[in-house]
Homo-oligomer: 360 residues x 4
Amino acid sequence: MEKISVGILGATGMVGQNYIKLLKDHPWFDVKYLAASPKSAGKKYFEAVTGRWVMDEEIPEGVRDTVVHDARDITRAKNECAFVFSSVEMDKQAIREIEDEYAAADIPVVSNNSAHRGTADVPVLIPEINPDHVDMIPIQQKNHGWKKGFVVVKPNCSLQSYMAPIDALRKAGFSVSRAIVTTLQAVSGAGYPGCASIDLIDNVIPFINGEEEKSEKEPLKIFGKIENRKFVDDDSIRISAHCNRVPVIDGHSACVSLEFADKRPSLSEIKAIWSQYRCEPQRLELPFAPHHPIVYRDEADRPQPRKDRNVEKGMAVTVGRLRECNVFDCRFVGLSHNTVRGAAGGGILNAELLKAKGYI
Amino acid sequence: MEKISVGILGATGMVGQNYIKLLKDHPWFDVKYLAASPKSAGKKYFEAVTGRWVMDEEIPEGVRDTVVHDARDITRAKNECAFVFSSVEMDKQAIREIEDEYAAADIPVVSNNSAHRGTADVPVLIPEINPDHVDMIPIQQKNHGWKKGFVVVKPNCSLQSYMAPIDALRKAGFSVSRAIVTTLQAVSGAGYPGCASIDLIDNVIPFINGEEEKSEKEPLKIFGKIENRKFVDDDSIRISAHCNRVPVIDGHSACVSLEFADKRPSLSEIKAIWSQYRCEPQRLELPFAPHHPIVYRDEADRPQPRKDRNVEKGMAVTVGRLRECNVFDCRFVGLSHNTVRGAAGGGILNAELLKAKGYI
Amino acid sequence: MEKISVGILGATGMVGQNYIKLLKDHPWFDVKYLAASPKSAGKKYFEAVTGRWVMDEEIPEGVRDTVVHDARDITRAKNECAFVFSSVEMDKQAIREIEDEYAAADIPVVSNNSAHRGTADVPVLIPEINPDHVDMIPIQQKNHGWKKGFVVVKPNCSLQSYMAPIDALRKAGFSVSRAIVTTLQAVSGAGYPGCASIDLIDNVIPFINGEEEKSEKEPLKIFGKIENRKFVDDDSIRISAHCNRVPVIDGHSACVSLEFADKRPSLSEIKAIWSQYRCEPQRLELPFAPHHPIVYRDEADRPQPRKDRNVEKGMAVTVGRLRECNVFDCRFVGLSHNTVRGAAGGGILNAELLKAKGYI
Amino acid sequence: MEKISVGILGATGMVGQNYIKLLKDHPWFDVKYLAASPKSAGKKYFEAVTGRWVMDEEIPEGVRDTVVHDARDITRAKNECAFVFSSVEMDKQAIREIEDEYAAADIPVVSNNSAHRGTADVPVLIPEINPDHVDMIPIQQKNHGWKKGFVVVKPNCSLQSYMAPIDALRKAGFSVSRAIVTTLQAVSGAGYPGCASIDLIDNVIPFINGEEEKSEKEPLKIFGKIENRKFVDDDSIRISAHCNRVPVIDGHSACVSLEFADKRPSLSEIKAIWSQYRCEPQRLELPFAPHHPIVYRDEADRPQPRKDRNVEKGMAVTVGRLRECNVFDCRFVGLSHNTVRGAAGGGILNAELLKAKGYI
């Protein structure tokens, strides 16, 4: 099979760097086109990221000397790639506009940005949870008069640590009515340079701008359904999130207490449900799909960011400490790799789903 | 006024070191007697702590050359001090026994240990919250046939960050029915050497042995009352605690969601209640009483351990981020200094209350 | 005595914040005038530093509501203060120009900036080491035609950890010919936000831009003398510096190997020389002068940043691990508080010396 | 080829864990025998390491259920493995005895311990540097009357970051006469639990017990030669080492200043020498031999532990910042992975060399 040519918008930022690292040997996708802000345009990639390449590996050879283009030069993009991953760093209005322009130019946009998450006809995809939300794509295209282009987004990184565990329970017939969540989030989630070192030595920061709202609202759309050609939020669950920044490189932890709507599963039922959780990406055998989307650890002190974030190449959620909750029904700790599952890896899995479904 | 001679059991451990540091210029108490395990007995204090004095200040001059005695040599203790602070490191059964022996020998014991917290006639004191629990002391003495001796304890450090804020609301007439709490706890709470460095670089640990149980149960006794010469737990509140260890030296944070039983105060009422919170230690002007037991910060990203732990010399609780909760009624972040308010400082305030009440 | 009115240029930056914190209760100086960039001008101080006040204490009451002025409004400065501390953040050329303008306007400038350290007639002062360099001030004034104004600077923070120990040996008659130094420097030295957290978790950075050059060159001027109305560098010593950034808040460590020119003292002589080191600031009893400019620790594992940086209120150098060097004559570890002795505290001591000598 | 059965003494400790992780898919060696202290004996491996398995990966399947034996049960070892890796944690005398007993029982011992490094007829091997030191093995066997058994050791982890760079220069004909080295060492070098977290948050420790002596002495034996059936230390080089512990998981950095004996290479010659450095392990194509034993980085701020420790699977030394030294001739920063190249990986490379040379 010939590989599909892929572009990356915002290729020089941290999420862009992760795309380049993770797509290095991808069986379907080939990074052919790099775009960023005008000040990077015209430079070779390695020049454009000098002093801010933060990956632990080197720039892949095939990308090192690729010339970076201006993200606004859509005509050029159209000639060089079949679709784009978007992780541009602009204000929300500008992001929506540029993503729409790509879509209008017949270039599908698989976005990491939050800008379009609230847009009525843009799916917020987690392939294990709501793969059917791709059915909004033809509607979106019709709404805009686009032919091949469209925009799909992935949700915020903070909620990956608890969405799959909750979804597994819902799909097993146990409706979760309320969840109180406290996250301990890694610094890589703040981009580069992100958090100041002086703020996170001998310290934690109990606040991440905008993060709690996203952690509470986006799940409702993801769990929602399409009715009358529109997304309708799920109204059976309410989530409260406290978001903290801790001095960890990668890996967002979440301490979660759950209340069930009516019948509640036993703890051993929950563990069984989680360990048997298999979804559309697993059935389709998508290259980035984790074999086990949820990995349960029995040890008393797991999951831990450094020890568990790389499970299933960073694409699984690791869960542990499932126990009775003294207030709600049960509680647990979830962990996911925020720059893999929560960012570039999640975007790639979205693109793989779209490819498998014939949208790209 | 002549100062009262004080002994410290477990003087060489981390809590013992904190007692020595904090009592340095105390207006009422004078550290005269140091006791520890047999292997420290006979050594000068500075020798006994060589290689494990972890305070940021030097050993106070007056204590440096004091000879450490065997904690089991109660006869000697009786001659040298009027009461003791107890922070011995033994198994629980052994601690209960030795603390009882001191009490039986007419030496009041102001303890930091958890061993006696569940004992039916031992008060778990937070002077702002339940100063009336000292009324159990005569009952305890009668139960055991002790004359002057008795045992009082302080609660676990983890709960100091949310107990005063909840107590203030209760005293203002707003009954809290349920609380879900996630703590981010400092390493000094684990003693010395405590947590391995290799476990807390680029990592957090979502588990502290026994901590969640203490964080959930002790509040019920503290909020409880004395009926028929016995403590009766408060049964109007239920607490669920997730306890995490984070790479912070001092300062336990708590992310708290609260549900009220019936009527609920507005956010501005809550802030007013907290800022006006004054209690028995403030009325008695105890030396270690913070002028403001609860300090509210308006900044979006406070409280933070390094910036707020030392407020009011480490004896206040700093609270911030009060906002509506998406699931319960309100939520906030609390912070307290775990080795001051949560350990030695809390023990000293207990002793001051006991002195003011005539028990020592 | 009436206090002298003092201005701070660059009052909103990290060094400026330190000046404000350290001058809070100064017996001679009173902060009356705050200046910063045009974007802070007109705001109250607390507004101007919102979100970037990084001190562990609150803004002192007397300064909180003081209005910040544009650093270029020299006329106003002249009416409100007798001299200024300068810690503006501009490019070097701009700093030299603005500092000269203040001097020309009869306002002495006690500077923290590196811009003027290489200027031929500007003294680089460490009051213990070269208090006689103030004799360059009248020459400088004559060179420029200034009447009361002048510029003096303090050296880079990195060299404070080894300069006093070397100076003590020189003054005792032991000429140090060569020194190889490796520093482990705190993040506060990089200003705010300074180092990215993602770069210093599970990592050290073996490079600080420009720091090694300063660490090697500035000592030669400080140890030099005035000949024919000019500074002549000391040419008897050569220093090689490796500078590293480590995840420490405050406190620069230096591992130092020394070679003596001819005769060499024994290790016990060196310890005696260090412990007896007293200089002009001590003789003049300047308020910020440490009683012991060099504090020696006998423990095998000291000095350590967190435990030793605050000795003598952060104004002393702590030294330890003196031992034979396998290549040169001896070696040791030095530590100084980079934002106190190495920045604002050092500037204040310079101003105190200048006041005592009648220059301000 | 049938794989060689291998035993690990001290299999439950941190170095033992690294052996198990690194040998997982080794083409020549198969871990068949695990031994540790009597308290682990009889347990399955996963039970024996419960709560102290610190690797980021899981225990390999083939080892998980292997029963651990008492390291003193040499008869059993003899039946189950052809040679052993030794990383027992005992006092030095006991280590020497047990390693000798294995050798006497015809079991070659490839040791990580320091106990035998000073023993006259025991080679301290770095395969790139002194592969000819294996010629001491027959002499050692004759000295003891051993037939097939012998003991070889690897040097301390601290010196790996500068030994190869110096050796490359020596082999190119440039004799290094003096080196002053400051190391910044990772916590994994201290074993588990090793350093207390409370000592390395906002802190560095300027002392590691015994480390400086090893860093200075072991190189002389490694660079030495065999004369009259004895090792004669190299006396052309002298090294001075300052060793510091920093809050880094893995990766020892070294800041190095070098003086050449007579002729000195230019900086570009040095870079060329380093990049062309190929040695016996590369010629023999040993499985764990790095293709490039020395990797030079041109960036101003490299090498860094987190970014460079895993180069060549942790078996290379990364070098950067080569520049003129203001005191000696040149200086640079070296970095090596202390638990791979500096511990288990180094031991494995030693065993591979011994296999290739016919000793095992």
